[in-house]
């Protein structure tokens, strides 16, 4: 009996083992078997970065990992490149060396003065599955560019190893998210080795409206003892130190003499605020943004004089010119290093060069000003949405100060659609009204319309108004306050939407939400893993008075609803008053971040909004 039982167990185990193998092969998916990165810091001038990857490509999805792209520029030089392709049986199919890499430059028109190149090789094999192995080194000529370790990809990773070797007494600082494991440190006579190992990392999942930092759940950042960039020495000990570095790098670029700026005439009797407005308008109207590659070798701005002559530049150039012009007028202003909110969030406790943009700060007694010189549509009082609520470093002379930029409120960012409509016997809706935008919505209106001629403006407006109309004719329109940023823009319009109301037997169906209707495709609450992120809080208001034709009676009207949460609200209200229907819809997102705990409430609210945006008034033909 026992023998039989043993035999049975063995057979079951064999069966399970076979099943495991079969299921493994059936459900095999591309993955990174090994992702090994090693940094060796020898001195303060630079480091060597070794990369080794073994990737198993099992499906179409994974094939993108067969395209290897390595950037190279005046600081980065690739050496010792080797790549191999193995077939499914582990047999070497092809081997590549550095000479097989194709060299490309960034496309023209995108960067103006970029020395950035990329080296590229396609390691795709003709038959799936296959395995690729890549190994290369990069010599980096400045510790200013120490890389982060972010071991998560869109395919799973079996093992990821990150090693940093420094001289024995080197002070390396690190900062990491809580998913990064504890470091293993070992020492030799001359060196110190830091090693982080992670196994079985799940692939990255995209979700509806997640914040950029959700893409960095696994993140380790390194801070070198000191660095040299462009002959300027720097340390990362404090934000003040980092500020000093930028100050030293850029301090000679602000010189402007009166003879250099003859074509700008600021009235002498202007107050400081008027001067700031004047100069900001001058920058907005007379310069243009040209990408000159901020990321790698673009930290030092051009001289204010040359920017003034050329009338173009990148963010740091335009801000430098702005600050210089203000200084010339005796107004103190400082450059501000910022990581735009759409790209992430700077940890104020860890000093690093994690910035991608530069704006200006003007300290004033009552209300200091933050100004982005690349924005053509902002006033001196508002920042573009991606600059709002960011941890930034103000370079106040030789000192760097960590501060947060202001964040606008839901009320600040309001858009209003207001109209009077008359429904005809033939279901045609004649509508006259206006669209108004404040702050970020004003900038949106400027962005779409300001640069366009009348014809194009009409075309865009027809597109906006006819999202839910099968045949809309714009009979007239007027664009008010589009020439200056100080006053909120308004679009007035008259339009006719043929057969706007739907038909069904002897009834008309009128959807009162003519203009704004919500989209939403968020995950079910049980599947959601991240908080919700909006780049800015907002208020969207629709208010329409409909006049009904005499040949119909109102048979049914949607119920009204009012939902109010900490994070947002929704009001939908429609009332019959004689031959009129008065419709109000207000959708509001009050917070930039909606925590995961509130996702269920958010999900329910959004679905209610979807449901109400479909609702119609039922009109019965007499």
């Amino acid at each position: 009996m026992i023998r039989w039982f043993n035999k049975f167990i063995i057979n079951v185990l064999i069966f399970l083992f076979i099943l495991l193998i079969i299921s493994t092969s059936i459900f095999a998916k591309s993955k990174i078997i090994l992702d090994e990165k090693k940094i060796k810091i020898n001195n303060s001038k630079g480091y060597k970065y070794n990369v080794r990857k073994i990737i198993k490509i099992d499906d179409e999805m994974g094939k993108k990992y067969s395209s290897i792209i390595i950037h190279e520029n005046e600081f980065y030089h690739i050496t010792d490149f080797i790549a191999k392709i193995y077939d499914s049986k582990g047999k070497l199919v092809e081997k590549f060396k550095e000479r097989d890499l194709k060299v490309y430059e960034i496309s023209p028109g995108y960067y103006l003065y970029s020395k950035e190149k990329y080296k590229y090789i396609n390691l795709t094999n003709s038959t799936l599955p296959y395995k690729i192995e890549i190994e290369y080194s990069i010599s980096v000529a400045s510790l200013f560019f120490l890389p982060n370790w972010n071991p998560q990809y869109s395919i799973p990773v079996e093992k990821s190893i990150f090693t940093v070797i420094t001289p024995k007494n080197y002070k390396l600082k690190t900062n990491n998210t809580n998913l990064i494991p504890k470091v293993k440190i070992s020492k030799t006579k001359k060196s110190k080795k830091y090693e982080w190992v992670l196994e079985n990392i799940q692939k990255y999942e995209n979700e509806y409206r997640t914040s950029p930092e959700n893409n960095n759940k696994y993140l380790l950042m390194l801070q070198p003892e000191k660095f040299i960039y462009g002959k300027v020495k720097g340390i990362y000990d404090t934000w003040s130190d980092f500020g000093k570095f930028y100050y030293e790098l850029a301090k000679n670029q602000y010189d402007l003499k009166a003879k250099d700026i003859t074509d700008i005439n600021i009235p002498e009797n202007y107050s400081d605020i008027e001067k700031i407005k004047f100069i900001y308008s001058y920058i907005q109207e007379n310069t243009r943004y040209v990408n000159i590659d901020f990321g790698i070798h673009g930290w030092k701005p051009h001289s204010a004089k040359s920017i003034f002559i050329n009338k173009y530049g990148d963010c740091k150039d335009l801000a430098t010119l702005f600050i210089s012009l203000l200084k010339h007028e005796g107004i103190e202003a400082y450059p501000v290093l910022i990581l735009t909110r759409d790209k992430g969030f700077v940890d104020p406790k860890f000093v690093m060069n994690s910035f991608n943009h530069l704006i200006a700060f003007i300290p004033l007694e009552n209300d200091s000003l933050w100004i982005d010189c690349t924005s053509d549509y902002s006033t001196i009082y508002d920042l573009p949405r991606s600059d709002e609520g960011c941890n930034v470093v103000i370079i106040e002379n030789e000192i760097g100060k960590m501060r947060m930029t202001p964040l606008s409120t839901a009320e600040d960012n309001t858009t209003i659609f207001s109209a009077n409509g008359k429904l005809g016997y033939d279901r045609t809706l004649k509508l006259n009204g206006y669209i108004k935008g404040k702050n970020n919505y004003a900038q949106k209106l400027y962005g779409y319309y300001r640069s366009e001629n009348d014809k194009k403006r009409k075309e865009i407006l027809v597109n906006w108004l006819s999202d839910y109309s099968s045949n809309l004719v714009l009979t007239s329109c007027e664009f008010l306050n589009f020439d200056e940023n100080e006053i909120n823009p308004i679009i007035k319009f008259n339009c006719i939407s043929s057969k706007y109301a739907n038909k069904g037997g002897n009834r008309y169906f009128l959807n009162p939400s003519f203009y704004h209707r919500q989209n939403f495709n968020g995950e079910k609450p049980e599947e959601r893993t991240n908080s919700i992120f909006y780049l800015f809080p907002r208020t969207i208001i629709d208010s329409i008075r409909y006049e009904l034709p005499h040949n119909v009676v109102v048979e049914a009207i949607p119920n009204s609803i009012s939902i109010d949460h900490d994070f947002g609200s929704f009001i939908y209200n429609i009332v019959e008053e004689g031959k009129f229907l008065l419709f109000v819809r207000k959708f509001q997102i009050k917070k930039r971040h909606i925590p995961l705990d509130d996702y269920k409430k958010y999900f329910d609210m959004m679905n209610t909004v979807l449901e109400f945006d479909k609702k119609m008034v039922v009109l019965k033909i007499k």
């Binding site: 490309y104 496309s107 009338k311 640069s451 037997g505």
Partner: protein, 651 residues
């Protein structure tokens, strides 16, 4: 601007053409400008006054972003040495912020055997007459994907309401036969565009104009006693993209020039290409053996063609764009060994393997849709940017392209379906019409059972069948997705609000995708009091018209034929009756057919919707009819059916 951004990446051919065309060396100077330039035209070169500036502001439409005041170019081609010299000068009035982009200039060139010289000069003229010159140090040279090269610069000192101008001289040796076309029109209004052409020692042969809706026959060139030809257009409107437009290039007014003894005839182009394709047209024994081996189990010839097509499409990795007239085309042996090649090499291998099993097949040069139609009047390499394979048969033959790994056998990717192609074969009637029948998208929502409950929720079971172009598009998305459920939710059900997927099965055949779905739509019907109402279309209902503008400037191009069928049986909830509904309506116009039918039997509503676009191209005169057709579809699609609770007392 026409030559800007990723234009080059997308249009390698044009680049090659343009680049090849204008390469040679000489030093830049205004003195060499042709006579025609020295006119009394107020936009003459060089001098520019405040008065002229004011005049221009007064006379022009200042609501535009920018206006091209003039774009003049002159080309001189000499036989000894064989070279092309292009002098070009452009002056633009910048009016608004968006117009400043015209200050970013990219000059592409092709470097083959000899390096062309390009001399650049640019300046901004402010309203007060002040001039700001481009520092030549700020001209950058680069190389991009496709190995084309470029010089680029941005003109300094640009403000709203200023003039920018630039001129350059490009001298190219050899490759003269690849003369680039001259485009008179741009995305901004052009007040004057002039092209002057002169040859010495080479005879000018012919020219042809292209461009949409312009009386080009009225624009004969002026020829002076020195045989210098000048074409001049004034007040050309801007050209902007419209929905379903086709290639902008097709609508721009341009000129193509032929040179006797230099420009190639169709025959010469074919002879040259046959010489470089020799390794593929003359089949080797190894190719024959390989082709026969992989097709030895095929049932018939068409099956053999399909096997070889699938083999090349799936086994040879596409590693580059490729140029059809390149002298560096790999041999079939190299291709078979490396299993990698560019698209030209892949299709040539396909050709070779077909020949290897005795199937008649021919290479055909084409221009892809985004590249623009070929100019049948003027033989030129620049007309083409791609090569496909034609297999003749008694039904007119099939065109095949192994480029797209998601393209099933028998389907021609829609981008290739650009009316005409050139067969590369000796002694042939070489220009061939490419049939649009091979590019069709078909989606059917069959056997759909939909059960609605008293809360307005809908339970649905359906089978979706995707064929042709629809298969191609969806198969690609499906393969790229590692989460099939998410693929269904995002793509198939993505446009259906409040849909919740229950179960699904994907049946993937070689040319058909069949998806069986069970899902629910919450709040599908609106419930108010004792009534509920809803539209009957679930999958393919249109809420808005795809054509919104009142006016249309350019022809409509649907790219491929589209058939969409939706057939649903709705079961209404118990306790409800059908109160009112529309029986459906149809809309037919030339090449656009729409049928919508509703039938009621007891508690079952049978809904049938068929939308069929059989004609892909329409003249602009048809725009109103087409817009009305789609407006009618949106109106019919949104008709509501009304259910009412049965009054129990009455019952």
């Amino acid at each position: 601007m026409i030559f800007k951004g990723n234009f080059f990446i997308k249009n390698k051919l044009i680049i090659v053409i343009i680049l090849f065309t204008i390469s040679m060396a000489i030093i830049f100077s205004c003195e060499t400008m042709p006579k025609i330039i020295k006119t009394s035209n107020p936009t003459d070169y060089g001098y520019y006054s405040e008065k002229l500036f004011e005049e221009e502001l007064t006379n022009y439409d200042t609501s535009a972003n920018a206006i091209k005041i003039f774009d003049v170019g002159d080309v001189i081609i000499t036989s000894s040495p064989l070279r092309t010299v292009l002098n070009r000068r452009v002056r633009i009035l910048v009016l608004k912020e968006a117009g400043k982009e015209y200050a970013n200039v990219v000059i592409p060139y092709y470097e083959n055997q000899s390096v062309p010289t390009i001399n650049i000069w640019a300046q901004t003229i402010l309203p007060n007459g002040k001039k700001i010159r481009l520092d030549i140090k700020n001209v950058i040279q680069g190389i991009s994907k496709d190995n084309f090269k470029y010089k680029s610069f941005t003109i300094p000192g640009v403000k709203n309401h200023c003039i920018i101008e630039y001129k350059y001289k490009k001298v190219t040796y050899r490759n003269v036969y690849l003369l680039e076309p001259w485009y008179f029109q741009d995305e901004i209004e052009t007040k004057l565009s002039r092209y002057t052409f002169k040859t010495t020692g080479i005879r000018f042969q012919s020219y042809s104009h292209l461009g949409y809706n312009f009386p080009i026959e009225n624009y004969e060139p002026v020829r002076d006693k020195n045989y210098m030809y000048t074409w001049e257009f004034t007040d050309l409107p801007s050209i902007n993209e419209e929905p379903f437009m086709g290639a902008i290039r097709d609508n721009l007014i341009r000129i193509d020039i032929q040179l006797k003894g230099i420009s190639k005839s169709w025959k010469e182009i074919i002879d040259y290409l046959l010489s470089i394709y020799k390794n593929y047209t003359e089949v080797t024994s190894s190719i024959i053996i390989h082709s026969k081996t992989i097709t030895n189990k095929a049932k018939n010839d068409i099956n053999k063609i399909e096997i070889i097509y699938n083999y090349v499409r799936d086994n040879i990795i596409l590693d580059d764009y490729g140029y059809f007239a390149s002298e560096n085309i790999k041999t079939p042996q190299e291709l078979m060994k490396s299993k990698k090649g560019n698209i030209i090499e892949k299709n040539l291998l396909f050709l070779s393997m077909l020949k290897g099993i005795g199937v008649e097949a021919k290479p055909v040069l084409i221009a892809t849709r985004d590249y623009g139609k070929i100019n049948l009047q003027t033989p030129n390499y620049s007309s083409f940017n791609h090569l496909i394979i034609y297999v003749p048969n008694h039904n007119g033959g099939i065109f095949l392209d192994t480029k797209n790994k998601y393209c099933p056998f028998g389907i021609l990717p829609p981008d290739n379906n650009n009316f005409y192609g050139l067969i590369i074969e000796k002694e042939e009637e070489n220009v061939i019409k490419i049939s649009p029948k091979q590019s069709t998208s078909k989606i059917e929502y069959n056997n759909t059972d939909a059960q609605i409950d008293s809360d307005g929720n809908l339970k649905i079971e359906t089978t979706i069948t995707l064929v042709g172009i629809a298969y191609m598009h969806e198969k690609k998305k499906l393969d790229k997705s590692d989460n099939k459920k998410k693929y269904i939710e995002d793509n198939i059900l993505g446009s259906i609000e409040n849909s919740v997927l229950d179960t699904f099965t994907i049946n993937n055949q070689t040319d058909t995708l069949e998806i069986e779905l069970k899902f629910q739509i919450n709040n599908f019907a609106n419930v108010i009091g004792n009534m509920m109402y809803f539209p009957l279309g679930i999958f393919s209902k249109w809420d808005e018209n795809i054509f919104k503008s009142d006016e249309r400037k350019y022809p409509i191009d649907f790219l491929f034929q589209r058939l969409n069928i939706e057939e649903t049986k709705f079961i209404i909830p118990k306790g409800y009756k059908i109160d009112s509904y529309s029986k459906g309506e149809n809309s037919f116009t030339d090449g656009l057919n729409y049928i919508n039918r509703t039938e009621i039997k007891n508690d079952t509503i049978s809904y049938y919707r068929n939308s069929n676009i059989t004609k892909t191209n329409f003249d602009v005169e048809k725009y109103k009819i087409i817009k009305e057709h789609f407006a009618k579809i949106a109106d019919i699609d949104n008709q509501q059916i009304v259910l009412k609770k049965i009054d129990k007392d009455k019952k």
